[in-house]
């Protein structure tokens, strides 16, 4: 999904990100992926600003169900309640599910 975000931004398209369900863990603070021999993708999320990707949304219920608060994430997010997600998606021409 990060690849699609970066490519779309490189095409000068306005890109926003919505994290839902376990997707909220993508932005969790204090990950140590190197311990598991994995790539540090949170660092790439932090670099999105360079690509003018600044609108990041998170679903309130997804965070709550996993015991997370916006402060636990590595980027500032705008919170949306589940009932408002459909309306949010409607504001966009294309939606990629990841």
């Amino acid at each position: 999904m990060l690849d699609i975000i970066l490519t779309t931004a490189a095409f000068d398209q306005h890109v926003s990100i919505l994290v839902l369900d376990d997707g909220v863990f993508q932005l969790k603070n204090g990950q140590n992926p190197e311990i598991a021999g994995m790539k540090d993708t949170a660092a790439i999320f932090k670099a999105l600003e360079i690509y003018d990707v600044n609108d990041i949304y998170a679903e309130v219920e997804s965070l709550q169900e996993r015991g997370l608060k916006p402060g636990d994430l590595c980027l500032p997010v705008q919170e949306f309640y589940r009932k408002d997600i459909a309306g949010l998606m409607k504001r966009f021409d294309v939606v990629f599910a990841g």
Binding site: T7, Q13, A97
Partner: protein
């Protein structure tokens, strides 16, 4: 209407790829245009030239090739998804010091830019799988 399609599932993982194939046929029969199919994630397994299913089963790869030949549909395979899974076209194989060309007739390998361009070009963009 102008459609662009994305296929994310392999032929034996789910019906999504074949559903996409049938959707495309139905759309073409109804007079619509399908100008590109983008194979991403495990969807790239549709493009393996040497897939050899039993004769009495669906020949997924051959059917896609035939569809491309009949309707000039651009079948694009994501290069990074393909390379991860060992699907190399001849020039890429050569570059990597490997042999052979695994890509079936009618498919071509390219990047995510083709996917983004398809979403911008199409009236409707549909993801299967």
């Amino acid at each position: 209407m102008k459609f662009a399609i994305q296929v994310n599932a392999s032929p034996y993982q789910s019906n999504a790829g074949y559903t996409a194939y049938q959707f495309i046929n139905a759309a073409l029969a109804a007079g619509h245009e399908v100008f590109r199919v983008f194979f991403y994630h495990d969807g790239i397994y549709h493009a393996f030239k040497y897939a050899t299913p039993p004769d009495d089963e669906l020949q997924f790869t051959a059917q896609w090739s035939e569809l491309a030949r009949l309707h000039q549909i651009d079948l694009v395979v994501c290069i990074s998804a393909a390379q991860r899974r060992g699907l190399l076209c001849s020039d890429e194989a050569q570059r990597q010091g490997k042999q052979d060309n695994d890509l079936a007739e009618g498919f071509r390998i390219s990047g995510l830019g083709q996917l983004v361009e398809a979403t911008l070009e199409a009236d409707r963009f549909i993801v299967f799988g």
